[in-house]
Amino acid sequence: MHTPSTSTAPDSGRQILLSHFDDLEQQNLSSTLGMWFFLVSEVMFFSGLIAAYAVYRGLSPEAFHLASRHMDKWWGFANTLVLLTSSLTMALAVRATQTGDRRAIVRNLLWTAVLGSAFLGVKVFEWKAEIDHHLFPGKHFVVPDHDEEHLKEYLEKTDGHVDPVKLEREKGRFQLMFVLYFFMTGVHAFHMIVGIAAVVLFALLTHFKWFSGYGQTQTESLGLYWHFVDVVWVFLYPLLYLIE
């Protein structure tokens, strides 16, 4: 995540060396390593959420199962494909920085941004459907009747009696699945928005020849970030959509 301090760079393949580094190799290594450790930090951020998810799903598998059925796994599947394709175009952009093909860099970065935006579009559409069904956590949340029936059946003892305390708790966990769903996909979407903004910015900077050395180091770091955000989705999709 390092940009050269000079505002205009000569249009040659050579990168500018910052004054505190000895050579380009050291400079590139530092940038990439910095991004890797940043991503390690991000993994820990998501792992806190996944730990919370694991605990509550372990406590109430049935409620999580019922809640998960409200998510459309086919839209999620399509979105996964879109996102993986965007990773491909990102990788092509990084490759193009190495071969020094400026037009290919810009083209692939813009495709990455388009695919990322398409993902977000589908996500917004999904969220809207869920909010319309009163599944957004908070005051307006309603546990759908047939899910409540299911939970009652699940809790029913041999004498046909349902413990109201346990029922309330299961309904709470049902809502909790949606809390985690909205929060995890929301945090993921936030990362996507940051990523798309950076990708568009990088496409512009490459187009206007702002980077030295075709922005090889910078684009590689951005690529790492983009792939990481994709991988997070690859974990979120089965956790949230594919419980069955």
């Binding site: 390092h2 505190h20 910095g34 806190g48 919370a52 509550y56 406590l59 709470g172 909790l176 809390v179």
Partner: protein, 552 residues
């Protein structure tokens, strides 16, 4: 340093302090200047946190609540004391001040790997810090620094949300610093500076940086969840809505126990430099001390459950966490024993930094041993949430980290500022801090063992004698800590008289001018030997020679 400035002064190149405009400070990317920015800010927060502690001790002079007016004010006082001291002083103190200043110098680099990110970390820290001050001025929070749910998320009507945002933001500053240190140690070492030629200061900071990068995000996510619960009214930790308040404690302590090592490992870093220098001996068991830092960082992630022995986790989990907590004592003890072995047959001189370092060793040992008492299940149930715990972690945090921080500031002050300070005042401050500290916190061990609970506004009259002792000690401690601020501040009025290497220390940072120039080194650095090549025999000869000259 501009070319014209060099043309005007026909002397040696200007040092990093010579540019003095406000803009040159606020836009600097020089690691040394960022270190100074941090020095000023953490000192201000330390004073703020100290004043709060003083007010609390004043309140506790008498068994009845009579100074602060209401228990609620007292709750806000101790919470703000904890939040400020931990997040705005202890976590950034040594890494961001001394680490920033010294890490590149010690490995022969011109700067940290990401100088702009380094400056950014200070700005992020200041945004969090100013929010913290704002909270303090608008009533504060009353949850304790631990933000335990469900009190914080459901019942507290203080500014929990703002505090959560402030801590969240400050966490990013810590992550950025950690990231920078890790990458710098990996990629910026001078030729010949192998991993086992690095000073132990660097090893300890590397371990600290690993914890910062791995643990801080978990704190971030847990307080975001508290904020979410409070803001949207959803039940992540609310048992009525299917949540589990103990989950918060797990997430919180997963950060906050390793955070203890974020605070104390840099203290070890400082002590590992001071002890060999003033004992004139190479450090005993270099690799053991180095790996002990990494081992502490790793074990530190596996012991968070020892904060929760009484919060309903299973007995087996408690037993496992208890055993793992005992394991942390091994690398910690390796360090203390190795420092002691370094002292053995050394040619000791008792300058101010050494006095602080020796004080550290004593106090940290007491803190560590009482930590073992708290790690044992049965005893912890007895003293849980009493003053015993308060005394224990103050022995680690103040007796350990603050003593090391002050020792480090005294040790490197000639390098940082180019000036010496009056030795007699330095020794007096070290003595006052040591005596005042013990007088403040040793009675609290007794109070806790006798059953005085922590965080209480009033107490039973039979505890008064020990509480008065503690308050008296706090006064001495305050004087001892204010003194360095005065005489170090006044030393800036003198000319730069320190010389490059006033202590005769090894280490790359002592090979260059005091204060260093902007680019640190004038020629490429090549490292050819191990650190800490001190010789006690030579020290003896020098001493004998000095005596001879003196008597002749």
């Amino acid at each position: 340093m501009s070319a014209s400035a060099q043309a005007h002064h026909d002397g040696p190149p200007a040092d990093y302090l010579s540019e003095s405009t406000v803009k040159s400070w606020l836009l600097t990317t020089d690691h040394k200047r960022v270190g100074i920015l941090y020095l000023i800010s953490v000192t201000i927060f330390f004073i703020a946190g100290g004043v709060l502690a003083g007010l609390m001790r004043l309140e506790l002079m008498t068994p009845r609540g009579d100074v602060l007016g209401s228990p609620d004010t007292y709750n806000r006082m101790f919470t703000m004391h904890g939040v400020i001291m931990i997040f705005f002083f202890l976590v950034p103190a040594i890494p961001s001040v001394l680490g920033n200043f010294l890490l590149p110098l010690m490995i022969g680099a011109r700067d940290l790997a990401f100088p702009k990110i380094n400056l950014l970390s200070w700005y992020v820290y200041m945004v969090g810090g100013i929010m913290g001050v704002w909270i303090l001025m608008h009533g504060g929070i009353d949850t304790g620094w631990t933000f335990y749910t469900p009190f914080s998320s459901m019942y507290s009507n203080s500014m929990v949300l703002t505090a959560a945002v402030a801590v969240f933001i400050t966490g990013f500053s810590s992550i950025l610093t950690g990231l920078n240190f890790i990458v710098t140690v990996h990629t910026m070492r001078a030729p010949g500076m192998t991993w086992f030629r690095m000073p132990l200061f660097v090893w300890s900071h590397y371990a600290t940086a690993l914890i910062m990068v791995l643990a801080t995000p978990v704190l971030a996510i847990s307080i975001v969840l508290v904020g979410l619960e409070k803001f949207f009214g959803v039940g992540v930790f609310d048992p009525r809505l299917g949540g589990d308040p103990v989950l918060f404690q797990h997430l919180f302590w997963f950060y906050s126990h390793p955070a203890v090592y974020i605070m104390v490992l840099p203290g070890f870093a400082v002590i590992s430099e001071i002890i060999p220098c003033f004992a004139r001996r190479p450090i005993f068991g270099y690799r053991f001390v180095a790996f002990a830092s990494v081992a502490i960082a790793i074990f530190g992630f596996l012991v968070w459950g020892h904060h929760m022995f009484v919060s309903g986790q299973s007995m087996y989990a408690g037993a496992v966490f208890s055993i793992l907590s005992f394991l942390v004592a091994i690398p910690s003890a390796i360090k203390v024993f190795n420092w002691t072995a370094t002292l053995y047959k050394g040619s000791l001189s008792f300058d101010t930094p050494m006095l602080y370092a020796l004080g550290f060793m004593g106090l940290f040992t007491i803190g560590g041993l009482t930590g073992l008492m708290l790690a044992s299940l049965a005893l912890d149930v007895h003293v849980h949430d009493t003053y015993f715990v308060v005394a224990h972690f103050h022995y680690i945090m103040v007796g350990g980290t603050v003593m090391a921080y002050l020792g480090g500031i005294h040790f490197w002050w000639p390098k940082i500022s180019g000036r010496t300070y009056p030795e007699i005042w330095g020794k007096l401050s070290a003595l006052l801090v040591f005596v005042g500290f013990n007088l403040t916190f040793f009675p609290q061990f007794l109070l806790g063992y006798l059953g005085m609970p922590r965080r209480y506004f009033e107490y039973r009259p039979e505890f008064q004698v020990l509480n008065v002792m503690s308050t008296a000690g706090a006064t001495v401690l305050a004087v001892g800590m204010l003194m360095p601020m005065i005489y170090l501040g006044l030393s800036l009025r003198q000319p730069k008289n320190a010389g490059d290497n006033p202590w005769g220390a090894t280490g790359l940072e002592w090979q260059i001018e005091s204060p260093p120039t902007t680019h640190n080194f004038h020629e490429p650095v090549l490292v050819t030997c191990e650190p800490y090549l001190y010789s006690p025999e030579e020290a003896e000869r020098e001493y004998a020679h000095a005596q001879h000259v003196h008597s002749a």
